[in-house]
Symmetry: C2
Subunit: 207 residues, 2 copies
DNA sequence: TTATTTATTTACCGATTGGTAATTAAATAA
DNA sequence: TTATTTAATTACCAATCGGTAAATAAATAA
């Protein structure tokens, strides 16, 4: 049991108070990484966007690689929250509908860079960011596995044809999602992506 | 009419002969850009792979940006040749079949980096490679437009349902192709991608 | 041979990269 | 006040970045 102050009111820490808002600074870092990629984002640009000087950033978040991980965590918690919600829909078809239409909206939202951070920021990179690249790859694989499990459940519930292969359908939907991300980063509009999703849903098995 | 040597036999040029094979050197540069991206590929790594020192590279190909364009041209001419062939297939369904199955094979070919160079090498990057990024984007758009025109022709030939929208189908197939590229670079096997393509073909309209 | 032309080699350039040591500023505790 | 603790600022580091000037090597032309 550590020694704390007598009341439950939070006591101020000892030294000089931080001048930056941690969440706000992280959000700015996120935007820089999102638009320029891991190695395309320089510490100079990050310091400018976060309105912090380098030693403060390193003290608060570690080095560039750890800063990226913090930003990535903020991304999945905030921007990527629609994925978990879509997986809770009541049928496989509704999962795909909600997932891809929410993605069409998010990927083209003008309030942040276009496309998906997890697809864009380190698809190919130099030797210095191999770990980051692999981390993003495992993120994508986890999403695909979550889709596969959801489709397996759907099939067990008679929600998908018996001859459908959940693993293949999951890979298919994941590819659509990733392709939409590429096209969003190339300037595709929300309406264009929604038309794409419409094609997917029209052809979705056994509706 | 310029002055040439008297016979048709090619006369040797005046100065010291180049010690490198231009096409082979370009192929090595292509492999480096393909696996590490435009800004992830350093001139040091390129010189090592091409077995040329920097001044020779600059004399032969221009700067890094122009070298990338030369490599990109070699890529589209060699590796990307299957796209043009697929577009000549006799039906829309066969176009998609040939295009995506050939892509599944190419994207996972162990003799070169996994995935598509045009998707991978500059999706997000720093300010220094904006032009490269836009050039790759326009490559992807040209492929999508070619698909759209092919589907328009298919529809006119009764090869696609009257209510199908060629532009949307083209965007759909392009997204599949791009998503396959992302997954190939993440380690998906040829068989896994072929299973994905099977899902697409099973659901292709009006077969 | 000598002159000319082109390629390769070596050494180097300024700028930028990610990262830090040392100092100064602002808060609390005694 | 004085000591202590933490943050912000300034200045700086070695390494690497893309790119090049100058010198040397290897070919042909005369």
């Amino acid at each position: 049991m550590t020694t704390t102050n007598s009341t439950d009111a939070p006591s101020r820490p000892r030294g000089r108070p931080a001048a930056f808002d941690r969440e706000a600074a992280l959000q700015q870092a996120l935007l820089v990484f999102w638009s320029h990629g891991y190695e395309g984002a320089s510490m100079a640009e990050l310091t400018a966007a976060m309105n912090m000087n380098k030693p403060s950033i390193y003290a608060a978040f570690g080095n560039k690689e750890e800063l990226f991980r913090h930003a990535l965590h903020a991304y999945t918690a905030r921007t990527g929250s629609f994925i978990g919600k879509a997986l809770e829909a009541t049928s496989a078809r509704q999962v795909v509908d909600q997932l891809l239409n929410a993605a069409a909206a998010m990927l083209t939202d003008p309030s942040h860079p276009q496309g998906c951070m997890i697809v864009q920021t380190a698809l190919a990179c130099g030797a210095a960011c191999t770990e980051i690249r692999e981390e993003l790859t495992s993120y994508r694989q986890r999403m695909r596995q979550a889709l596969q499990q959801r489709f397996e459940r759907a099939q067990a519930e008679g929600d998908l044809p018996a001859d459908a292969v959940p693993a293949d359908l999951a890979r298919y939907v994941a590819a659509i999602h990733q392709g939409m991300s590429v096209q969003a980063s190339s300037g595709a509009s929300r309406e264009e992506l929604q038309a794409l999703v419409h094609v997917v849903l029209q052809q979705w098995p056994s509706r």
